[in-house]
Amino acid sequence: MAKPSSKAFSVLTNGLMKENPVLKMVLGMCPSLAVTTMAKNGIGMGIAATFVLTGSNIVISLIRKIVPDKVRIPVYITVIAGFTTIVQMLLNAYLPDIYKELGIYIPLIVVNCIILARAEMFASKNNVGLSILDALGMGGGFTIALLIIGSVREILGSGTWMGLTLTKDIFDPAVIMILPPGGFLAFGFIVAAINKFSVLKIRNREIASGCGMDCAGCTGEDGGDGQ
């Protein structure tokens, strides 16, 4: 805490690349694959999740000393569900197109691992200011990841980007990229490319997750050893 400003800066930038929730921590996979058929939808989802994350981080950071340890998870989930409902109503009222596109994936923000993981790992241990920065960083990282996946799928799958036609004369779009298999495929290749070019391998990252659903880090051992 010697240099508060640099700490704040590192908290903010942490989520953008170094600990990118989707590309590095592999949290929140369901929306990352489901809504990224278009870059625009990816951004919509990213902003909605960032809003919920910021709200829940603020509230959880404020109540972190009041909530008894044993009931903290149900309390966190209730707070997150509250903010998700707010987002749902706001989108329904002001951006009905996006609301229709994203469908049930908006209420499903509640069970997005990223939000519970940040509540458990960060907001419950840090003050409000840092928690807001953390939420913005992580939410930003989530949005960037969705934008990357969405762009790859939209360009390859429909030959457009943000509604602009790009590849009209160059190649015929491969429809499979906007179908469900293309989601897995695009994500797999993006993670492989990041592995290739990044010094920080996925395996070296800190294995920790608030929701116990640390997908990539989960070796299956937490399940298998009980048998």
Binding site: T85, D222, G223
Partner: protein, 193 residues
Amino acid sequence: MRDIILIALGAILVDNFVLSRFLGICPFLGVSKKSSTAVGMGGAVIFVMTLSSAVTWTVYKYLLEPNELGYLQTIVFILVIAALVQFVEIVLKRFIPALFKALGIYLPLITTNCAVLGSALLNIERNYSLLHAVVFGLSAGVGFTIALILFSGIREKMEFCDIPAAFKGLPITLIAAALVSVAFFGFKGLFGI
């Protein structure tokens, strides 16, 4: 009868929760390393999903809808599911210890499984009756389990393959999932849906 079969086959094969709706990806990638864990997780999901479909449907139709509280469904459903999972855990522990031993470790993970909340929300969105909702929950769970077990078999084989370093771990898993998803895509033609 026909509509029930259509709902069941649709949820198991055509619109498989994992492979075409992307619900429940975390457990799908997380616990599919070994077939035995896949079976355990699948069993737990089928059990909870069937129960939660019935309970959330009842809560919505008899508690939320008459009072015009439909907008609270997200909060209410997630709390109902969380409470239900706890309750199932206690009941199983007390009365069916064998089943608890088999499913116990997977149960707490299910609260944050988006497939469970997803099926509850879809039941309401599609305006299903109670019977349809239960059939849908059960079949979605079965579909999830089939995908999980199939995929765990593939991953067990993949352990011994020589994979380029950059693709080791998550990327090759995702690409394998893409291939399984392509296979399931073939079922789209089943009813001309």
